[in-house]
């Protein structure tokens, strides 16, 4: 290590001692080998340390705090207002872009639902020979198709077969269809699986 570098380190240590409140004389006594070089520099440093440093005026400190608090308050208010603006904008934008389409879609769905419900009610009373009867059969088939449980499915097949037989009888009685056509229709109907309740009877026995 060069002598100058040694002195730089010694000066730094001596300055630390001075900053900690030690007197120049005691610091120089500790670094007696370098006292002559250290003395003017420590004296300069001591001058800087002891020179009264500027203090802010009380008014300036109060004004600064008031300004900071005002900005803090504005920031909070602005933040909330900003959030509301964004939500308002999003709402207005959504309404502008999708509002009309959404209303049309809801009205259309409601209309379709009402028409289908009315149509279904009318088809319940229809008999073979009526133009509504195929719709009634399709609704019954759909109901069977949507039934997952095998036992329930079989019960529904049986129920609708009975219902269709009653419809055919009623249609024949009302002379809406010929008996021969009714017989052909009954033959084409799906045969229910044999169960304990109907092993002795076929649908045609009714």
């Amino acid at each position: 290590m060069s002598p100058d570098r040694d002195f730089v380190l010694t000066l730094d240590e001596a300055l630390d001692a001075l900053r900690q409140g030690n007197r120049i004389r005691s610091v120089l006594a500790h670094y007696s080998d370098d006292a002559e070089r250290l003395s003017p520099l420590l004296e300069t440093a001591q001058t800087v340390i002891q020179t009264p440093h500027p203090e802010p005026s009380r008014d300036a400190a109060i004004t600064s705090k008031a300004r900071m608090m005002r900005v803090l308050g504005e920031k909070k208010t602005t933040g909330l207002r900003h959030k509301e603006d964004i939500l308002d904008d999003l709402g207005a934008e959504f309404q502008r872009e999708h509002g009309k389409g959404l209303i049309v879609a809801v009205l259309t769905l409601a209309l379709v639902f009402i028409l289908l419900s009315t149509f279904s009610v009318f088809t319940i009373e229809s008999l073979p020979g009526s133009w509504l009867y195929p719709v009634k059969l399709t609704l019954q088939d759909t109901h069977i198709l949507l039934t997952v449980d095998p036992e329930t499915k079989q019960e529904r097949i049986d129920f609708y077969n009975q219902l269709r037989l009653q419809d055919l009888r009623a249609a024949v009685e009302q002379e809406r269809i010929l008996e021969a056509d009714a017989q052909a229709t009954m033959t084409a109907m799906p045969t229910p699986a044999p169960t304990a309740a109907n092993t002795d009877q076929s649908p045609s026995d009714h």
Binding site: L11, L41, T44, P56, S57, S64, K65, M68
Partner: protein, 183 residues
Amino acid sequence: MNEEGKIIQRAQKGDALAFARLQETYYPDIYRFFYYRIMDAKNAEDLASALFISMIERIGFYKLESVPFLSWLYSLARTVLMEELLRRGWSYDQAPQKQVYWSPDDLPSDRDNPQANTYILKRALARLSTDEREVVIGKLVENRTNRAIGREIGRTASTVKQIQHQALIKLRSALREERYLES
């Protein structure tokens, strides 16, 4: 966590009283930071005020246990100072000389007046290079470590010690010329 850490955490959550406490505690240090770098009382007050407004925006970025809060504020103060100098079209080197020699605000006539001594010191400091001034003020006025000063000016702690040596030699010469130190 110490009391100051709790106050900082409250400020980070937007607590106005916590901001007020931090401002009361650190305003004098921050004022002196600006005073010795721009060498003008009025501008130092304005910049200190700007610093605490900037603190509102950036306090969320401060991490407890990283550096002392005052060190973090000094870093923020440096940014505020640089922005101000940029706005004025001044370089960092020019700022003290411009204020000391161009501002007629406080020409001292009475050497026994403490303000006069402060004025002489700032004239002497203005004759140092930027790095030398940063080291002398950082070490002897702000009581900072070599490492913290080095981090601010982009030098190693070892280089800071060398700059410190040169700065004290130059400052002694400047103070003698001002007749503040005996020959």
